[in-house]
């Protein structure tokens, strides 16, 4: 009978992120001159979807109590690769898409292999591999340029059947095809168990290495999907270090906003997606209230701090000081 209470307790972070985003977006559309129209929603979707992909990727790794600081660079690298390959006839374009996704996956697999078999700390490993990925991106695109199959790009960044934003549909499809099966699989559970308590997971005969490897690999794949979409928006590739670093850091912010614990074991990619959209909506709110865009980083910082404080409210209720550390 009390099942739903346990479910709410388990999904609390995700629900809070969802509520935060809905509140922010409601304020945004009610103050927008055009109101709640398909165009406004499509623009918002297109703005948020890139960070949503990277945040999803970050969630997979953070859940195992790791962190991936190379995701932004995988994003940039796959963008540069896509600006070479995703072009030409439909067949060539399809091959290009497959190759770009495979490249993202390969980057993630490399991270996973180093972290697992090199026994290096994820933070150091991914800073290093991130630099390597960026170097490769620079080789591919020393100067910004390239092109992309415009029909495909326009189809995926426009509206589907003139009713729904195509980018949102793709995002939901990725959640259904990548995230949901992962969450419900033995490997996904192993990832949560590893992040929550590695020793207990090992003693229980959980396949820890496999869980880690799959988490890093899928993270690379998701970052690759992000890179592909970036190409669809810009019609070109650019090896931009600033872009890569921004997305890496914002993905961590989105994950925290989304209720994913940086200590591992807690949270969901769906929460992180709402976190990403909420983070993006800050800029839009500044726009409708006619504030200088220069204020954006400051406001983003404030919102992030508030979100973290919200999580810390729990601490005020603690009556046994030892629970601060648990």
């Amino acid at each position: 009978m009390k099942d739903w209470r346990y479910i709410i307790r388990e999904q609390r972070g995700t629900l809070i992120a969802m509520a935060l985003f809905v509140a922010m977006f409601a304020i945004y559309v009610t103050n927008h001159p055009a109101g709640f129209t398909l165009n406004v929603v499509t623009t918002a979707s297109n703005k948020g979807v890139l960070l949503a992909f990277i945040a999803m990727a970050q969630t997979l790794v953070v859940v195992t109590a790791g962190i991936d600081l190379s995701l932004g660079m995988i994003f940039v690298l796959t963008n540069c690769l896509a600006s070479w390959l995703v072009t030409g006839s439909p067949l060539e374009t399809a091959f290009g898409v497959a190759a770009v996704l495979a490249a993202g996956l390969a980057c993630g697999m490399l991270n996973g292999l180093i972290v697992i078999f090199g026994r290096l700390q994820p933070i150091v490993t991914t800073i290093a591999t991130g630099a390597i990925f960026f170097g490769m991106a620079l080789l591919l695109r020393p100067v910004p340029g390239g092109e992309v199959n415009q029909d495909l790009a326009d189809a995926l960044t426009g509206k589907l059947a003139d009713k729904v934003p195509a980018s949102l549909v793709v995002l939901i499809a990725v959640v259904l095809v990548v995230w949901m099966p992962f969450r419900r699989s033995l490997t996904g559970r192993a990832a949560y168990a590893t992040g929550s308590s590695e020793a207990a997971a090992y003693m229980s005969g959980v396949a820890i290495r496999k869980a880690r490897f799959v988490a890093y690999s899928l993270a690379g794949l998701l970052a690759g999907i992000g890179g592909l979409f970036l190409t669809f928006f810009t019609y070109s590739g650019e090896a931009s270090a600033a872009n890569g670093n921004t997305y890496t850091l914002y993905s961590i912010a989105a994950v925290v906003l989304g209720g994913v614990s940086l200590f591992g074991g807690i949270g969901s990619a769906i929460g992180a997606i709402f976190g990403a959209f909420a983070f993006r909506t800050i800029g839009d709110l500044l726009f409708v209230f006619d504030l200088e865009p220069l204020w954006q980083p400051l406001f983003q910082g404030v919102v992030l701090l508030l979100a973290v404080c919200l999580g810390a409210f729990r601490l005020l209720q603690i009556r046994n000081r030892l629970d601060y550390f648990g």
Binding site: K2, D3, Y6, I7, R9, E10, P181, R184, S185, L186, R189, Y192, A193, G195, S196, S197, A199, A200, A201, Y202, M203, S204, G205, V206, A207, S261, G265, I266, I318, R319, N320, R321, L322, D323, G326
Partner: protein, 516 residues
């Protein structure tokens, strides 16, 4: 009995070394189905290592294991699990952020189309919990919201859910309440009837007497004796375990403390949340006051409240007759209060396992061995040497990590660390849980010496024998309040059990602990 039949599981010639230390030397064990086989021995006798080898957690250096007459090797816990060996570990193997059902079926959940079938998993989890006698636990609760005793029941349910042929219980009842222990015993007896082989490791002799069919005693990494349960007296068993003449475990009972003295510590109407209700007590110098009652009736909370760990505690606290407020462990240990708490969980609250013995010992006492904020290494070394010999701590070096010491020696380090600040009031929270007879004996002696030197001691123990033999007075707690006080010769097994349960009978069965 059935000498011709092949034992279900057999191991012989098993040796294992950790560095220069032989944990096991040429050990052998033979286990039959349908019997409960108790393994006895001091800490460091090799029991834990033996079990880890059977469960596939560590590999033996030499020797062989036979399952139903066929030689087997286990490279990982999951391989042992597939062979039908399940283990309830002393160190809980539950993942805190997953639900009870997820944990029970963590490595082999029911699946449909390759994905976890949560509805089926839930049904099976309910069945497993019922089988372990723990239907009060909701399968969707998260482990971290459950108190220790419920977690241990989940751990048992998890082992049963694997349908093992050999079930190993390593100190599996150490955190359980008495009513849980009874339920678990019933479960174990049923499993014995079903033909399982049960390996039971416990420091509680009474449990072994109640449960075991056959016992094997380990000492210094070897199996020194195997006998049918009930054929040896407790004294004989303890002699086998410690390998030396067994005298009295407990030092002589304390002399009564004159009542007219001024108490060192005095509390009045202490309350906290719904876990402590109007607790009043006073302790004089040289007195050992025990806390008794069923497990989880507020004894731990009382000690934490005194030590300043809990927030929102109401009531009065006097030290040497002066009212004080203790804002946290730092002010509790300050010389004007002079309090020390030996925590229940030495691994998280008492020690920093990867750091050296030296560092762990001097943390609490750094102020004593430093001048103007600079540590005087000479003074530190002298004080440490003094403590190491006082408590007979056995470590290869003071620079060895504490984690490499045996459980009993780790506990001695925790105690020594607090003795270094020369406390006037010592709070002990079940300090002998999971340590061996020899170390226990040393601790009792130490307790007595400290009391005789004028230290006031509050001693919480789940072992009634300890309360009977170590305390001047015992306060019995129930549901957060003191329901009776026993003194001197009045502290008996009967009196303790009776007063712990008297109110319990009024309120029906003992209320299950709720999530913190």
């Amino acid at each position: 009995m059935d000498a011709l039949a092949t034992p279900l599981f057999e191991m012989d010639g098993i040796s294992k070394r950790y560095g220069g230390v032989h944990a096991l030397r040429d050990a052998a064990l033979s286990v039959e189905g349908g019997r409960i086989h108790a393994i006895l021995g001091e800490n460091g006798a090799g029991k834990s290592t033996l079990i880890k080898i059977i469960a596939g957690v560590v590999a033996a250096d030499s020797g062989r294991m036979m399952l139903e007459g066929r030689e087997v090797t286990f490279a990982s816990p999951s391989q042992a699990s597939r062979a039908g060996i399940a283990c309830v570990f002393q160190e809980l193997s539950l993942v805190p952020d997953l639900t009870v059902a997820d944990n029970i079926f963590i490595s082999d959940p029911p699946r449909r189309y390759g994905l976890i079938d949560r509805a089926a998993q839930r049904r099976m989890a309910e069945a497993a919990l019922a089988r372990a006698g723990a239907s009060d636990i909701h399968p969707m609760a998260q482990i971290r919201d459950l108190p220790l005793s419920r977690r241990q029941m989940v751990e048992i349910a998890k082992a049963l859910a694997r349908n093992p042929r050999i079930l190993i219980l390593d100190e599996a009842t150490s955190a359980l309440t008495q009513s849980d222990v009874t339920k678990v015993f019933d479960v174990l007896k049923r499993l014995r009837q079903e033909g399982l082989a049960l390996l039971y490791i416990s420091h509680r002799m009474q449990e072994i007497a109640k449960l075991a069919d056959i016992c094997t005693v380990f000492r210094n990494g070897r199996n020194v004796a195997t006998y049918e349960a009930g054929t040896k007296s407790d004294n004989e068993v303890v002699e086998l375990m410690i390998g030396r003449e067994y005298r009295h475990v407990f030092p002589p009972k304390p002399r009564p403390v004159p009542a007219n003295q001024n108490p060192v510590l005095e509390i009045a109407n202490l309350s906290w949340s719904d876990r402590l209700r109007n607790v009043s007590l006073s302790v004089q110098a040289g007195e050992v006051v025990g806390l008794g009652g069923l497990d989880g009736q507020g004894q731990r909370e009382l000690l934490l409240a005194l030590f300043g760990v809990l927030r929102g505690v109401t009531g009065g606290l006097r030290i040497d007759g002066k009212a004080v407020t203790i804002a946290g462990p730092r002010s509790a240990k300050a010389p004007r209060v002079g309090m020390a708490l030996i925590p229940e969980d030495r691994k998280t609250e008492g020690l920093m396992l990867p750091m050296s013995v030296r560092d762990n010992l001097s943390f609490a006492a750094l102020a004593r061995v430093s001048k103007a904020g600079v540590i005087d290494f000479g003074a530190e070394r002298r004080l440490i040497a003094e403590m190491m010999s006082l408590l007979a701590i056995r470590a290869s070096s003071i620079d060895a990590p504490v984690g490499s010491l045996s459980g009993g020696n780790q506990q001695k380090v925790v105690i020594a660390k607090w003795l270094m600040v020369t406390p006037r009031i010592i709070l002990l929270n079940d300090p002998t849980r999971g340590i061996d007879v020899g170390t226990k004996q040393e601790l009792y002696k130490l307790l007595r010496r400290l009391a005789e030197s004028g230290v006031a001691i509050i001693f919480y123990s789940t072992d009634y024998d300890e309360l009977i033999n170590c305390c001047n007075r015992v306060l019995v707690l129930y549901d957060g309040s003191v329901i009776s006080e026993l003194e001197g010769e009045g502290i008996t097994d009967r009196a303790l059990v009776a007063s712990a349960l008297s109110i319990g009978a009024d309120k029906g069965s003992q209320a299950p602990a709720v999530a913190r």
